[in-house]
């Protein structure tokens, strides 16, 4: 009985929060006239896939590809550099670790806008402006802070004795890191990777400034649907749904790691 009540409350809360998205999905199935109809209808209309069709036959698939490339490249880079960094920052290895850690956190605090212009000038000088590489590198800068910050606590929890034992058995520091520390820390690593992927997937400001029409990511492309006067809401809604589905899939797959990987110890 009590269980039923809790389910009911949980579902109501969920529904209250997700309702705007359900409504968005409904909009994505409407024609323009139906969207502007007053009063708006929820179910009583002929659903159409026109918005999706016009999206997917246009240049939108290219943008989906761009988003995928930028998200994966920036996350891979962040893991490649952030993991060893976090491993090195573990308290017992580095006395000044605390200082560096604050530095990493400080980077998270900087208003991104402050970095936008330096990046712009930097990439212009490098001749990379408008390339997907520029977008990826910019996103990498956010991701590496996420990865380093989230995985350090995990590395901290790797028992020193195990590392010691492996080293005595003749394993090089690199082997200890790759074969012992990383497998033990896989949950926080997976969680941070998910966050890094999402950050890049959804980032707008840098992607908009550094990309060219060819290399737009999904958010940038969608922003283009909103003109000054006329907003193509149907397509915007459809594009948002398309962008949301992989993200939710990722969250569903990774929930186990998200939960165990973010256990307390974000500090220390």
């Amino acid at each position: 009985m009590k269980r039923v009540a809790i389910y009911a409350v949980a579902l109501t809360v969920l529904l209250a929060f997700v309702a705007p998205l359900v409504w968005l999905a409904v909009i994505s199935l409407k024609t323009r006239a139906q969207i502007y109809a007053d009063p708006s209808t929820f179910l009583g209309f002929d659903p159409t896939l026109d918005n999706y069709r016009s999206l997917l036959t246009g240049r939108f698939p290219v943008f989906i590809g761009n988003s995928l490339v930028a998200a994966m490249a920036s996350t891979a880079l962040a893991l490649a550099i952030g993991l060893p960094a976090a491993y090195a920052l573990v308290g017992r290895r580095l006395r000044a670790g605390g200082l560096v850690r604050s530095g990493v956190l400080l980077f998270r605090m900087i208003p991104p806008i402050a970095l936008l212009l330096p990046y712009y000038l930097l990439f212009r000088t490098a001749g990379l402006l408008g390339s997907l590489a520029a977008v990826s590198v910019a996103h990498f800068a956010f991701s590496i802070a996420i990865v380093t910050w989230m995985t350090r606590a995990g590395f901290e929890a790797v028992p020193g004795e195990i590392e010691e034992a492996a080293r005595i058995d003749g394993a090089s520091p690199l082997r200890v890191f790759l074969l012992i520390a990383i497998p033990i820390t896989r949950a926080p690593i997976a969680a941070s990777a998910i966050f890094a992927l999402l950050t890049s997937w959804n980032e707008f400001l840098f992607a908009a400034t550094l990309s060219s029409p060819r290399t737009q990511t999904i958010p940038v492309a969608v922003a283009g649907f909103a003109g000054d006067v006329y907003v193509s809401w149907g397509e915007l809604a459809a594009a948002t749904v398309i962008g949301l589905v992989p993200a939710l899939g990722l969250a569903a797959l990774g929930q186990r790691w998200l939960l165990s990987g973010m256990a307390p110890g974000a500090f220390k």
Binding site: R3, I6, Y7, V9, A10, L11, V13, L14, F17, V18, P20, L21, W23, L24, I35, Y36, D38, P39, S40, L106, R108, M109, I110, P111, P112, I113, A114, L116, L117, N202, E203, F204, L205, I218, P219, V222, A223, V231, W233, L236, A237, T240, G243, L244, A247, L248, A251, A252, Q255, L258, L259, S260, G261, M262, A263, P264, G265, A266, F267, K268
Partner: protein, 224 residues
């Protein structure tokens, strides 16, 4: 400036409180709860820019669904959420709470799951009621987690940009012009780069000061 602080503190507090409530509700290993939790994450999975645009559409005065819902409830003249200077900032707070409560929930559930079940069981065997268990066991054990979440929410609240950009562009007037939006305006709209950079540094200092107590609280706890 005052607006930024208000927005940051109010929205962070609401997000953490709502996240804690929802987490306590969803933290059960019953069938279906995993799916409910995943779906609940949906608002934070959308690009913040879209979040702003979606809400702008829903709150719009001529054909927005919110207005329609209010009229069903018998309120014929609801506030002009985004166009009324008195309401705009609160609306921004509301939308950011909608988007980021899931983030807080995720962290709190992770924290809750890290509390050993047998400790709880022992407490309830010793005759502690649900409230006592929460007050004396869950709450203190969860404190570091809550502080960590609050820290991140405050940092992000300060940087909040996309939602404002998409919903109000700082208006009406300057009712929702927060520091980070102001920096953007100065730097990229008016191209006063030096001024924008200085402002950004000042902001950085403010965030650092604002988060220092949270950070210290968290460190002391985990050292203990």
């Amino acid at each position: 400036m005052r607006r930024t602080l208000l927005l940051t503190i109010e929205s962070s507090a609401l997000q953490v409180a709502a996240g804690l409530g929802v987490a306590l509700l969803f933290n059960r290993n019953w069938p279906g709860m995993g799916a409910i939790r995943t779906l609940f994450l949906a608002p934070m999975m959308i690009a913040p820019l879209f979040v702003g645009m979606i809400w702008r559409l829903m709150l719009s005065d001529d054909f927005g669904v919110v207005r329609y819902l209010f009229s069903l409830a018998g309120v014929s003249e609801p506030p002009l959420w985004l166009d009324d200077p008195d309401w705009a900032l609160q609306t921004v707070v509301f939308v950011s709470v909608w988007e980021w409560t899931a983030f807080a929930m995720l962290f709190v559930i992770a924290g809750l799951q890290a509390i050993p079940g047998d400790v709880m069981e022992a407490a309830s065997l010793d005759g502690c009621g649900a409230w006592q268990r929460f007050r004396h066991m869950t709450w203190p054990l969860l404190r570091p987690t809550l502080l960590a979440v609050a820290l991140f929410r405050v940092i992000d609240g300060f940087k909040l940009f996309d939602i404002i950009f998409a919903m109000t562009a700082g208006g009406p007037g300057d009712a929702t012009t927060t520091l980070s939006y102001f920096v953007y305006q100065q730097g990229l709209a008016f191209f006063d780069l030096g001024y924008a950079a200085t402002l950004a540094l000042v902001m950085l200092g403010m965030v650092a000061v604002l988060t220092a107590p949270l950070l210290r609280g968290g460190t002391e706890r985990s050292a203990a």
